[in-house]
């Protein structure tokens, strides 16, 4: 497959996404029902569909794809716009693509494939990977899903896993707290934090009082967002986890609690203090940026993205595998390859 053809196939998908975006109103209620997002949340999430990528980004995506003759894609639910990037990566890699959307979140994938009209792409429902005649599988989801796929893959089938992750925010000492809180709130609200780019931990440089002030600002901003884009429904398990986290942090730190979000100021970012998805955020105060790496170390293995008011400064000190962006832009990475750069070749 030559690079031109790959690029052309990706653009075809982008054009389909653009058309889909224009007609998004007709999909909102179904997507809201299956994802649990509020209808307003779905509409807002559509804004993260990469309808207008740069030519450079698409070329990067297409040229970096590892070629195959048939790629099969297995998608997870929740971040409903993820199917565009997943399809683009697969189509750039192979002249034949099959995709199995999540049964909880099939709408956008089906619509996108239909609208693209690319005969090389088919949606299939078969869940048994051993029956798929593909030489490469791109699987997105929980570790256990990935493990099942790896175990069931036929001999010779390459499996490219895309595991779960999380995002973090870094607010430097020179940032305007009010502006940083406003921008970060947009990243938190998007997909109700169910994306691997969603920030769940935020480091605030400049000491405890500054972190407290940021907490109050973020609390106000999330309240305002709730009025515009209400949080969707959480499952009973998610509610339970949120309750457990909130109570533990109430005991161990300062908490700003609202009906549909919670912010806690904790002493460190550990796996025990990590909040669940659903608009829950842990703030950690750091004296200086020198502590940022150390503060995020317990979570580094899971970190896919960092948003900051000083992306250039942060980029200089964090792993190149982590996507770094401005606050407010964490959920809108360029269409230049996989969202998650922790794993090679996908």
């Amino acid at each position: 497959v030559n690079v031109e053809a790959r690029i052309s196939a990706v653009w075809n998908l982008v054009h389909a996404a653009r058309a889909l975006y224009e007609r998004r109103a007709s999909y909102i209620s179904e997507i809201a029902f299956t994802t649990g997002l509020s209808p307003e949340g779905v509409d807002w999430g559509f804004g993260c569909l990469e309808c207008d990528p740069s030519a450079e980004a698409v070329e990067t995506l297409a040229s970096s794809a590892e070629t195959a003759s048939h790629v099969h894609v297995i998608l997870s639910a929740g971040v409903f716009v993820a199917s565009l990037r997943a399809l683009a990566l697969a189509r750039a890699a192979a002249p034949c693509v099959t995709i199995r959307p999540s049964s909880r979140d099939p709408w956008l994938t089906r619509a996108l494939v239909e609208m693209a009209g690319d005969r090389a792409i088919r949606v299939i429902g078969d869940r048994d990977i051993s029956r798929i005649d593909a030489d490469c599988v791109h699987v997105y989801g929980r570790r256990e899903t990935i493990a099942v796929v790896q175990a069931r893959a036929r001999p010779g089938m390459r499996v490219h896993p895309h595991g779960p992750g999380l995002g973090a925010g870094i607010v430097t000492a020179s940032a305007s707290l009010e502006l940083a809180a406003r921008a970060l709130a947009a990243d938190i609200v998007t997909f109700d934090q169910r994306g691997c780019l969603s920030p769940r931990v935020v480091l605030i440089e400049g000491g405890g009082l500054r972190a407290e002030a940021f907490g109050a600002d973020l609390h106000r901003e999330l309240d305002a967002w709730e009025a515009r884009i209400p949080r969707g429904r959480l499952s009973s398990d998610e509610m339970e986890q949120a309750r457990r986290w909130t109570d533990a942090l109430c005991f161990g730190g300062r908490v700003w609690l609202a009906a549909r979000h919670a912010i806690a100021l904790g002493s460190s970012a550990t796996t025990a203090s990590l909040p669940p998805a659903g608009r829950h955020v842990l703030l950690v105060s750091i004296a200086s940026m020198k502590q940022a790496d150390e503060a995020l170390a317990p979570l580094s293995h899971y970190l896919t993205a960092i948003g900051s008011d000083d992306p250039e400064g942060v980029r200089a000190v964090v792993s190149r595998q982590v996507r770094v962006s401005a606050l407010g832009q964490m959920q809108r990475p360029p269409l230049d390859g996989p969202v998650d750069r922790r794993t090679k070749n996908i």
């Binding site: 929740g78 929980r142 779960p164 109570d247 533990a248 005991f251 002493s267 025990a272 998650d340």
Partner: protein, 362 residues
């Protein structure tokens, strides 16, 4: 009254309850009265309670029922200091096995005597131990696991239930079972004394694997205690299969295999009731397990499944009420333990906390 004097007085009251139980007397005071006094003491002297009470909109001075006292999630022991005193008052400190990233829960004690008295009194009763027994621990000695509450409990049992004996009662060193010494020790036992064999479920699975079907019969009247889950440290066996296998390996009847339920964040333990040993755990008079709704944290209807709210009067200087992600149901004289509450399944590619914790466990 100073915090220290108040704590001393509360410890004395809990110990009086333990003594009354040992002597077969009725409790000197009600559970509720002592519980509320302990809870008020803790709310005044442990900073974290202020946030917890405030989040519930409760004034600690106005609580009239124990269920109104907010339970401290076990995770709080990882994030905060759940202790009424400064470091100069810590006489014992236990840590959860936890994760590899520094998020281990810590339970500090000012007076570990109440813990020990409560453990011995209820353990002796639950195990039906009349006379001292040769106590054998399929676990490490305290010097190898100095911050393990389980090892502390076992060493308390060695001192409290054991015969005076010069031989080393611990049969795990540097993570390996000393099978040769264990075999030799058990074979040296005469029929005149019974034995008490203590271990975690996964240690017993390793032992069974190493024995490879060879029996190590214990003297009559012996007991085998196993506790805890597997945590990925051995192959998993259902409790009934493990009971059967242990009974066979040690040549005892199945009712002599007893399960115990406890946790680092508590001072009291719960034991499988005597008789059929059917997975129903009983509580001592100074502790209660209340199944609560995971979201409201209010008690569920009798017979319904909830997560465990555990009220422990021996937790004088830390948290009278603790909530753990273990699913429980009231049954008969006690409660059934139905496993860990499942974590929230991740929707989307955002990682679930349980997924991180699972991968962190050694």
């Amino acid at each position: 009254m100073s915090a220290l004097a108040e704590s001393e007085s509360l410890h004395a009251r809990t110990r009086a309850m333990v003594r009354a139980f040992e002597q077969g007397l009725s409790c000197p005071e009600s559970f509720e009265t002592l519980a509320l006094d302990i809870a008020r003491f803790q709310s005044r002297h442990i900073a974290g309670y202020a946030g917890l009470y405030a989040a519930r909109g409760i004034d600690p001075r106005s609580t009239t029922r124990t269920i109104e006292v907010p339970a401290v999630p076990t995770d709080a022991f990882k994030l905060a200091r759940v202790f009424a005193f400064g470091d100069d008052q810590v006489t014992a400190l236990f840590r959860t096995s936890g994760t590899t990233v520094g998020a281990r829960g810590t339970h500090r004690f000012r007076d570990v005597g109440t813990y020990e008295a409560a453990s011995l009194a209820f353990g002796r009763s639950a195990l039906g131990l009349g006379a001292p027994a040769v106590t054998l621990v399929i676990g490490p000695p305290p010097e190898e696991a100095f911050d393990s509450s389980l090892t502390h409990m076992w060493s308390t049992f060695v001192r409290g239930f054991g015969l005076f004996d010069d031989s080393d009662p611990y049969f795990v060193r540097n993570g390996a079972i000393d099978l040769r010494r264990l075999k030799s020790r058990i074979r040296s036992l005469t029929g005149r004394v019974s034995a008490l064999v203590l271990g975690t479920s996964f240690a017993f699975v390793h032992l069974l694997d190493e024995l490879g079907g060879v029996a190590l019969p214990l003297p009559r009247g012996s007991r085998v205690v196993h506790t805890g889950g597997f945590k990925g440290r051995s192959r998993e066996i259902s409790p009934s299969k493990l009971r059967r296998a242990l009974a066979q390996a040690f040549g005892v009847d199945e009712p002599q295999i007893v399960r115990e339920y406890g946790m680092t964040e508590l001072s009291s333990q719960f034991w499988e009731s005597d008789g059929p040993r059917d997975g129903v755990y009983v509580e001592p008079p100074w502790a209660r397990v209340v199944p609560v709704d995971p979201q409201s944290l209010l008690p569920v209807s009798d017979g319904d499944v909830g997560i465990a709210r555990i009220e422990d009067l021996a937790n004088v200087d830390s948290a009278f009420a603790v909530v753990a992600p273990d699913m429980v149901r009231r049954a008969g004289r006690g409660f059934e333990l139905l496993g860990r509450a499942r974590g929230a399944a991740a929707r989307g590619c955002s990682i679930a906390i349980d997924e991180i914790l699972a991968s962190d466990r050694p």
